[in-house]
Symmetry: C2
Subunit: 304 residues, 2 copies
């Protein structure tokens, strides 16, 4: 998490590119090339996803601190998709990008421990150690409470990594359970208080290694949770395609303009399909992504 | 879900075997054999998991209706682990077992849609359809609300499959958020009410295709939720190693002794390490698993 904050400062860009490939985003040329190499298979689709990702990362790695692959998009391609996810994480690391794995896992203690090892740690077999997926930070679902979250915190700490716990998600029905008032606080406020507590043992430069997810689509909640979680870095999804704007997002940052990072996925990786960047054409999808990223950085930092 | 209920009736066994392999459970012979074939690699570890699972399934497939692989245990072995998970699901199907994938996924709508396709549906590429993992039923985390759960319901319905939504989990700290009182009901009761609602469009023989997870470790809650969710099949984890007993579990069933299925993982697959079944020895791990399964079925049905 401190590596992430430093990278944000160095690049002056509190922005993360969401690598959430979907079939409709992948240029036909990439799909055709993969199909002619691997046949009409999931391996070909997964390889096309991976090549799409590497082109985007090559185009933006000097201007953003991090990428956030959404594992569901890869899981949808089965085992070959998981290999494309793993390779994407590794390629991102090789480009100096912080990898935020958007995995939203969470289970009972021993099972969360297995997920934590899979994504943030190393597993031992035959007297050797293996790094199964190799992310730097992952998102975690808090529904099971402390014993479902603590194994992630422990493994993250052992390997100098971090987590973002879902507090208030960006989707329309997030309020159904998260906004329920219990006494004088909502469920998301209770989760936020626990996030502060889980992170309280490891605060450096004002921020802990346990972050929170709060959606850009709820700026008034963002403002309240920024104040309620003073040691918590906030990952802000929902900018762009989901409706959040740069002006909305100021409130997620601290008074120094730090402590938050804003994600955009579709708005960047599928920018070439947007009228504004259509002149790049399908072949220029990576350059369109870079232009959209530059515009997003301006929009966010211009409001800080 | 109706296939599951029929299989429970046919085998007179409301019991599911949790296939949650861990390094310590795998007999040395299996690990050694896999290592000599695949070297000291994650591929070898994953293959040993898969062979362990097939031996257990061969030993119990005539007496239980279903297995429940916990994907975290496979994810911990990286991509080869996910291949072992996929193969385990497929082998279970080939033995006529209902496959309950314990994946506890949940995200914003479009992302939940991708997970649903990965595990319950089919994905289209190059004019062909692929079944990425091939479970029959999966567990779903409700923290994101209706738009995070509905894509699972939709995909399940399209393919005649089902889901179990986490209502009250079996772990010690499940109460932190799930038990919070809001007005006159807890969060888990609110989730339970939504489970009834999500399933209300597709009820056959009294039960819908949207089930609920309620832990054996909280029998008083099980009794209350059985009454509150009359059309909901309950998946009951936490029997055995986590502390739930056959007497505790009666309350999770309806008056006809139907509408619930109880999981045991460690207590069955690692039975040979338990004093009671130690005479089977390490080589007899599968027979020990069968003996433990028979005892569990007696314990559960004897209390119905």
């Amino acid at each position: 998490m401190h590596k992430l904050l430093k990278a944000i400062d160095a690049k002056k860009a509190p922005v993360v590119v969401g690598l959430d490939p979907q079939p409709a985003f992948i240029p036909a040329k990439l799909l055709d090339a993969a199909q002619s190499e691997f046949g009409p298979t999931l391996e070909a689709a997964a390889e096309a996803y991976y090549r799409f990702n590497t082109a985007i990362m090559d185009a933006v790695s000097d201007i953003v601190p991090a990428v956030k692959p959404q594992v569901a998009m890869y899981e949808q391609l089965g085992v070959p998709g998981m290999e494309a996810y793993r390779k994407t994480c590794n390629y991102a690391s090789s480009k100096g990008l912080v990898v935020i794995g958007d995995i939203k896992r969470g289970d009972i203690g021993s099972t969360s421990g297995a997920y934590a090892v899979a994504h943030l740690g190393r597993v031992s077999f035959f007297g050797k150690e293996f790094e199964p997926f190799g992310e730097d930070i992952v998102t975690v679902n808090p529904y099971l409470g402390t014993d479902g979250v603590k194994p992630f915190v422990d493994v993250a700490r052992e390997h100098d990594k971090g987590i973002f716990v879902l507090v208030k998600t960006s989707n329309p029905s997030s309020g159904e359970f998260q906004d329920v008032m219990a006494g004088d606080s909502t469920i998301y406020e209770r989760v936020g208080a626990m996030v502060e507590k889980w992170g309280s043992d490891n605060i450096k430069d004002g921020y802990s290694d346990v972050g929170a997810v709060v959606g850009a689509t709820y700026p008034e909640i963002g403002e309240r949770m920024r104040a309620a979680m003073p040691h918590t870095v906030i990952l802000v999804p929902g900018y762009g395609a989901q409706g959040g704007t740069g002006a909305d997002i100021r409130v997620f940052f601290d008074k120094d303009g730090r402590g938050a990072i804003v994600n955009s996925s579709r708005g960047i990786i599928a920018a070439y399909k947007n009228e504004k960047y259509a002149s790049f054409g399908e072949d220029g999808f990576a350059d369109a992504a870079r232009a959209a990223t530059e515009d997003m950085i301006k929009d966010i930092t211009g409001n800080l």
